[in-house]
């Protein structure tokens, strides 16, 4: 094997930063949801549809879900980098996770705006 010079791949910072920022968004959303649900004396279909009828709530939820998918992608990639060594299999898993995330994002829009 060629004796490569060890040097940085010049990426990784953005992913690390996005993982931290997305974690903050998810924490705020989760906290809001927990407080909202605790403050409802009764939770039925009407209350739920009213909450999601506003554009702000739909957008906030979509933002939360997109943060979740991106956060999960970075986490999944970290796991694959540690445990899956063959490059072909690793690439296949990466592509699958990315495609699944995109699919879930489209599905989330359909659900949120179809309510």
């Amino acid at each position: 094997m060629v004796n490569r010079v060890v040097v940085g791949a010049h990426y990784g910072l953005r992913d690390w930063l996005i993982q931290r920022i997305s974690a903050v968004v998810m924490a705020v959303y989760s906290l809001f949801m927990a407080v909202y649900l605790l403050m409802q004396p009764r939770l039925d279909y009407d209350v739920w549809t009213e909450l999601f009828s506003s554009l702000v709530m739909r957008t906030f939820t979509l933002l939360f879900l997109m943060c979740l998918f991106y956060h999960a992608w970075i986490g999944m990639r970290s796991i694959v980098m540690d445990y899956v060594k063959p490059a072909g299999l690793r690439l296949a898993i990466h592509v699958l996770v990315i495609l699944a995330s995109l699919l879930y994002t489209i599905w989330s829009v359909q659900i949120l705006w179809g309510m």
């Binding site: 060890v6 940085g8 791949a9 010049h10 990426y11 990784g12 690390w16 970290s78 980098m81």
Partner: protein, 231 residues
């Protein structure tokens, strides 16, 4: 005092095994290394590295009751019996408690652990203010014993790609040095999903460091500098 020590001699053993020892020793005021040297008098096939016997050289790092540490600075009285001694985890064993540190030092050398300054050498020393010098406290004291790096799961999985806490602490030691002129190149070299970002802030390094240094903080400082450079 009872001991259970990891034994492996590649010339005669096919697999490593744990050997029991019993030692008659007054524990007060004695360090673990004193006991190991007395055990070695009983059984001279027991192999261990040691040199300064006062926590400066970093030779006698080992896994003591499941936790990495220096035998020479670990008081016998602090240990639960039987005292289980194993070589540092995650590195190839040469014999008994002696590990092959090649990979560890390869990572250390990869961060260029020396001052890079292209100015012509001055007549006197390159001076720093006391404040500038204070930034090196908690960084320069590292003795490269390997306790932190071999306690790090990220290093266990990727010893060839992740620099490890000891190497990254030293990387920051030169990044923080005002006399060094290669800060940007050093940050470029570390900006890598493996070399730096394999650190997931597990903090085993901080937990075990016999010099009570904080590699996690140094790694955080490197990330901070990268973010400041980016925005």
């Amino acid at each position: 005092m009872k001991f259970k020590i990891y034994r492996y001699n590649p010339d005669t053993d096919t697999v490593p095994y744990m050997q029991d020892y019993d030692l008659d020793i007054e524990v007060n005021g004695k360090m673990l290394l004193d006991a190991i040297l007395l055990l070695k008098e009983q059984d001279d096939s027991l192999s261990v590295r040691k040199s300064c016997r006062e926590g400066v050289c970093g030779s006698d790092a080992m896994n003591i009751n499941g936790r990495n540490g220096l035998a020479c600075t670990t008081p016998l009285a602090s240990l639960k019996e039987p005292v289980v001694l194993r070589p540092l985890p995650g590195l190839p064993v040469i014999r008994d408690l002696i590990v092959d540190m090649t990979q560890f030092f390869k990572q250390y050398h990869s961060i260029k652990p020396y001052l890079i300054n292209n100015d012509p050498p001055p007549e006197t020393e390159r001076l720093q203010s006391p404040e500038q010098r204070a930034h090196l406290n908690g960084l320069y004291e590292c003795i490269l014993c390997g306790c932190c790096t071999t306690a790090c799961p990220s290093f266990w999985w990727n010893p060839d790609k992740f620099v490890g806490p000891a190497g990254l602490l030293q990387a920051y030691r030169f990044i923080a040095d005002t006399r060094d002129q290669a800060t940007s190149e050093r940050l470029d070299d570390l900006e890598d999903p493996y070399r730096l970002f394999r650190c997931h802030t597990i903090m085993n390094c901080v937990d075990v460091c016999p010099k009570e240094l904080n590699p996690t903080e140094a790694i955080g400082n490197i990330k901070d500098m990268m973010v400041k450079r980016l925005v």
